[in-house]
C-alpha cells in the first residue's frame, strides 16, 4: 500500500470527522480549488453530510426520544466523536446512544427511552425469522408432555430493564397524550418482532422474574417451579403461557 495514498485518506478522514475544519491553506494543500469553490467549501460538503446523514439516522431510529429531546440532532457530532460508527450498516450507528446520554448526565428517563427505542431497532431485523409456538401446537400435546415442553423467547426479543417510567413516556408520545412525570419505577419491558411488526410490553412483576429463564431457554415445568410461591401457581403458569402464545413471543426450542 502506498504511504502517500494512506496519508491522503487519513488527512481527509481527520478533516471530515474532526471537531473543527482545517484552515483554508491546509485544505488547499491537499484539495484542488477553483472559481466554483475553494477547498474549504468542498470539504464542508463532506463534513456536513457526515453529521447530517447520521443525525437523520438517530432521529429516525429514536423518534420518541427526538420528540422530547430537541437537542438530539445537535448532539450528533459529539456522539459520533465519542462513539465513531464501526459497522457497515447505519443500523448500528445508534447502538451507544443511551450510554452517551448517561455519560453526559442526561435524565434517567431519557436514557431509558433511548435504550427502549434501541431495543426496538434491534428487534426490527435482529434474530432469525421463526414460526412461533401457538395454541394449536400446545393443545396437541399429551398432558404428561407439558412439564418437559421447551419454551424460549423468539430470537428477535430484547429485554429492557427500567428504573423509570420510560415505557409510559413512550406510550404517551405514541398516543399524543400528556407525558407522565419522570419518576422512579422498577420494571422490565419485553420487545420482540411479531411477524414483521416490532411490539413491546411491560411485564408483570412475576413475569419479569421468569424472563431471564425464557430468554435462555427453559421448560414449562421449570416455569411452574419458579412460580411455586405464587397464590395459585398452576393457574398463573397457564395464564402466562396462554398470554405468551397469543403474543407470538415463544418458540419451542431447548436451551443451547
Amino acid at each position: 500500500m502506498s504511504a502517500a495514498l494512506d496519508a491522503q485518506l487519513r488527512w481527509l478522514h481527520a478533516a471530515i470527522t474532526g471537531a473543527s475544519p482545517p484552515p483554508e491553506p491546509e485544505a488547499a494543500a491537499w484539495l484542488e480549488r477553483d472559481g466554483a469553490a475553494d477547498a474549504s467549501a468542498r470539504l464542508h460538503v463532506y463534513r456536513h453530510a457526515y453529521v447530517a446523514r447520521l443525525a437523520d439516522v438517530l432521529v429516525v431510529d429514536h423518534p420518541k426520544l427526538a420528540a422530547v429531546h430537541p437537542d438530539l440532532r445537535a448532539l450528533t457530532a459529539d456522539y459520533l466523536r465519542a462513539f465513531p460508527p464501526t459497522h457497515p450498516s447505519v443500523r448500528e450507528v445508534g447502538a451507544h446512544l443511551a450510554r452517551f446520554l448517561a455519560d453526559r448526565g442526561a435524565p434517567a428517563h431519557l436514557i431509558e427511552l433511548a435504550a427502549l427505542e434501541r431495543a426496538r431497532v434491534e428487534a426490527f431485523d435482529g434474530g432469525a425469522d421463526v414460526t412461533p409456538l401457538d395454541r394449536e401446537a400446545v393443545a396437541a400435546l399429551a398432558p404428561e408432555d407439558f412439564p418437559a415442553l421447551p419454551l424460549r423467547f423468539v430470537p428477535s426479543h430484547r429485554l429492557v430493564a427500567l428504573t423509570t417510567r420510560a415505557d409510559e413516556l413512550w406510550d404517551a408520545i405514541e398516543r399524543a397524550a400528556p407525558h407522565p412525570a419522570p419518576a422512579a419505577a422498577t420494571r422490565a419491558v419485553l420487545v420482540w418482532r411479531r411477524a414483521v411488526t416490532v411490539v413491546h410490553r411491560t411485564l408483570d412483576d412475576d413475569e419479569a422474574t421468569l424472563a431471564p429463564a425464557l430468554a435462555a431457554g427453559t421448560t414449562f415445568g421449570d416455569i411452574c417451579a419458579l412460580l411455586a410461591t405464587a397464590p395459585q401457581p398452576a393457574e398463573r403458569a397457564l395464564a402466562l403461557l396462554l398470554r405468551w402464545l397469543d403474543a407470538a413471543v415463544l418458540v419451542s426450542r431447548p436451551a443451547d
Binding site: M1, S2, A4, L5, D6, Q8, L9, R10, L12, H13, I16, T17, A29, W30, L31, E32, D34, A36, A37, A39, A41, R42, L43, V45, Y46, A49, Y50, R53, L54, P84, P85, T86, H87, P88, S89, V90, R91, V93, F124, D125, G126, G127, A128, D129, P155, S156, R193, V196
Partner: protein
C-alpha cells in the same frame, strides 16, 4: 408486494440493509426476488480504503449472493472506512497510479472471494485531491481493465461531478470502455451553496436526460436503474419516469 410489479423489469437492493438476521427487509427482498431479477448494490465495501478488506462483510455478501442469486453485484469507487471508523459516506479516491494499483488488487481479491465479477460505480464527488495523475474516467477505465471488473455508470453522478469540477461530461462518457459498462443509474440531485449535491431525492433533470441519451448511444447493452432514496413518490410516478428512460433508450440506442 404480492406478485410481480407491473412496469418494472428488475430491482436494485441495498446490500447492507439485508446483512441482518431476519425481519421485513429480508422478507421483502425474498418476495421481490421471487418475481424479478435483483441486483445487489452496496455502499459499504470500502474498496478504496487502506484498511484491510473486511472478511466478515465479504462473508455476508457471499451468503447474500448464494441466497438471492443476484444478476449483478455492485458497489462504489470510494472508501467509507478508515481505522475501523465507518463514515457511512462515499469518500473520494485520489486519482493516482498508486491508488489505481491499490484498488485493482482489492477488486481482484473481492472477486476471488465471491467467485464472480463485481461492478464499481462512479460516485458524485465534491473535492479532488491535489496531484491527480489520471482523470476520474481514465481511472475507472483502467481499473476495469486491470481488475477485470465491470462498471456501473451513474449518469447523474457524471453530471454532478463534472459540474462541480468543471469537467466535460461527454468526454467523460467517451473515455469509458463500452464493454465494461454493465448498467446505468439515473437519479435526481439538489443544489448546495456552491456545488451540486447527489441526494437521490428528486426527479431526473433535463440536462441529465440529455446526458443519458448520450450514454445509451455509447452503451446500448447496459440496463438502466432509476434510483430514489428519499422523498419517494408513488410507484406510478417512478414507473412513469422509468417509461421515459425506456423511450430515450429506444430512440437513442444503436
Amino acid at each position: 408486494m404480492r406478485g410481480p410489479v407491473d412496469g418494472v423489469d428488475w430491482f436494485e437492493v441495498i446490500t447492507e440493509n439485508l446483512m441482518v438476521d431476519g425481519g421485513n427487509p429480508r422478507r421483502v427482498a425474498r418476495e421481490v426476488r421471487a418475481h424479478h431479477p435483483v441486483v445487489l448494490h452496496g455502499v459499504g465495501l470500502s474498496i478504496g480504503s487502506t484498511d484491510p478488506l473486511d472478511a466478515r462483510y465479504l462473508d455476508r455478501l457471499a451468503a447474500l449472493c448464494d441466497e438471492l442469486e443476484p444478476a449483478l453485484v455492485s458497489d462504489h469507487l470510494c472508501w467509507t472506512t478508515l481505522g475501523g471508523h465507518n463514515t457511512h459516506d462515499l469518500l473520494p479516491m485520489p486519482y493516482t497510479e498508486a491508488a489505481l494499483a491499490h484498488v485493482a488488487a482489492r477488486v481482484a481479491a473481492v472477486q476471488e472471494r465471491l467467485g464472480r465479477r463485481i461492478l464499481l460505480e462512479n460516485p458524485s464527488t465534491y473535492a479532488v485531491y491535489r496531484g491527480a495523475e489520471l482523470t476520474e474516467a481514465a481511472f475507472l477505465a483502467e481499473l476495469a481493465t486491470r481488475a477485470d471488473c465491470g462498471l456501473l455508470l451513474d449518469v447523474n453522478n457524471v453530471y454532478v461531478s463534472c459540474t462541480n469540477h468543471g469537467w466535460d461530461a461527454r468526454a467523460y462518457l467517451a473515455s469509458l470502455p463500452a464493454a465494461r459498462v454493465g448498467y446505468l443509474h439515473l437519479a435526481g440531485h439538489s443544489h448546495g451553496e456552491t456545488l451540486l449535491i447527489d441526494t437521490h431525492d428528486a426527479p431526473v433533470i433535463e440536462e441529465v436526460w440529455a446526458l443519458y441519451a448520450e450514454a445509451v448511444r455509447r452503451f446500448p447493452d447496459a440496463a438502466t436503474c432509476l434510483e430514489r432514496d428519499d422523498d419517494i413518490p408513488a410507484l406510478d410516478v417512478l414507473v412513469a419516469e422509468l417509461s421515459r428512460a425506456r423511450a430515450v433508450a429506444a430512440e437513442h440506442a444503436a
